[in-house]
Amino acid sequence: MNKAMNQAFRKRKITYTLAFLVVLALYLISAYITEFDLQTGIKAFPEAAKWMSERLIPDAKAWERLPKILDKLFETALLSVAVTVTAGIGAFMFSLLGSKTTGFRGIINQLVRMTAAFFRNVPDVVWAMVLMFSFGQNILTGYFALFFTTFGLLTRSFIETIDEVSASCVEALNATGANFIQIVFQGIIPSAMTGIITWILYMIETNIRSSTLIGILTATGIGYLFDMYYKRIEFGSAGLVVMAIVVLVIVIETISIQIRKVIK
């Protein structure tokens, strides 16, 4: 007993040591290749902060632009919410096919999981670049780029949520003779709802951040404004954009924390 325990602990120690060495080696190798020096990196921080505090302070002209900035900010937030909600609805229906609980066959399960993995694993920025060929610099490009990754990620999360929280009541409802649609609405949706909403809120937050970045690429939304001001060296306005984004993200996060508390 004691011996087995000692052995187990020794094994764990060796694992940790090995993991540490591997991480260290990876760091050294990549630092060498990219010529990145942690010390200079850290030393550069104060300077960067100083630069930012001097230039990124909104000036009078920036404040004049506030309505326009807020307008674009609102557009970006709305886009993120719209994308997440539509992708969420699609993902929920798709996840019913991918879940083991609902009793679909193994091949359908696999197909759904593979499709979801594909959409999820291509980064949204890459989706945006690819889609730019078909839609051009357009809000639709941003919409679909975010839609695809959100759809892929939510599908997988919903499958996990459904399998985890509703397997037992689905079995019972099947035993009463209820049909598939009744089981979805009376069993799966009520038991998985909290999980689903939590995931959707999380994805709205993530998408607001992503859509800012994608906006730079597709010349839409708040990202475009930031890019424009920055390139025109109007740092004051660019700074106000950044501040507006930060405030929005904090507001959204506060709201979603409150919602999560209520639906618990």
Binding site: E171, A172, A175, G177, N179
Partner: protein, 261 residues
């Protein structure tokens, strides 16, 4: 005519685990039958073959005059409305209220749409309430199920099954997660339903003493085979050993324990 008949039923999972091996027996309407056996013996599989939550690999299962093993969708759901099921872990929709869970017992007989939106008739609601009252749960009717204790949850499970107005109730280890006091309440309710509503009950049990106290007939399953089928009185030490094979540890906790009175 028996209400349920197993004819040479076998079940093999994934082409390797033989969970049921040529099982045959029949049950008359109104019987209270306990199925005992060590864990892994095939009790849950046997029960689930009846309402086809598990598909038997071979053999015939005749319930209420029809072979269920060949049934397709609609016919199967109709059979399921006639068999209530009670689970070890209650299997309620925890986030819905007690009364809604009880009303789920009517889903199989409702139209897709009214079942989907949870529209129930006045008569159905009244009956659900009466059932809850008879199980001592009237005060909890509008509580969410996750606020209930284990014993209360299992009574909701029973209420849902009775709501179906079934001919047969299948109970898969209904008291395995409960303390002795709640266990007694649950078993007493099952006995009461069997006696007063004449609903046939098949109860998988882990505890031999509980099976002996409540049932008029005990089926002992071991390794997917029936090794005993008879009255509780006929179940002697030797047979119990045979059912539980070398698993004497099960015996000590099951028979020696005074906890289940």
């Amino acid at each position: 005519m028996p209400i349920l008949e197993f004819k040479n039923v076998s079940k093999t999972y994934d082409n390797e685990t033989k969970a049921l091996n040529d099982v045959s027996f029949s049950i008359e309407e109104g019987e209270f039958v306990s199925i005992i056996g060590p864990s892994g013996a095939g009790k849950s599989t046997l029960l689930r073959c009846i309402n086809r939550l598990v598909d038997a690999s071979s053999g015939e299962i005749v319930f209420d005059g029809q072979d269920v093993t060949q049934m397709k969708n609609k016919e199967l759901r109709k059979v399921r409305t006639k068999t209530g099921m009670i689970f070890q872990h209650y299997n309620l929709v925890d986030r819905l209220s007690v009364i809604e869970n009880v009303l789920h017992g009517t889903l199989g007989k409702k139209s897709t749409f009214s079942g989907m939106i949870g529209h129930y008739t006045e008569e159905e609601k009244l009956r659900a309430f009466e059932i809850l009252e008879s199980l001592g749960l009237a005060d909890q009717a509008y509580k969410r199920c996750d606020e209930l204790s284990g014993g209360q949850k299992q009574r909701v499970g029973i209420a849902r099954a009775i709501m179906q107005q079934p001919k047969l109730i299948l109970c898969d280890e209904p008291i395995a997660s409960l303390d002795p006091k709640s266990s007694k309440i649950i078993m007493d309710h099952l006995a009461d339903i069997n006696e007063n509503q004449k609903i046939t009950c098949i109860v998988n049990l882990h505890q031999v003493d509980v099976a002996m106290k409540y049932s008029e007939r005990i089926i002992g399953v071991s390794d997917g085979k029936i090794v005993y089928d008879g009255t509780p009185e006929g179940l002697d030490q030797k047979t119990i050993h045979k059912i539980y094979q070398s698993k004497t540890s099960d015996l000590i906790t099951d028979i020696g324990g005074e906890a289940h009175e």
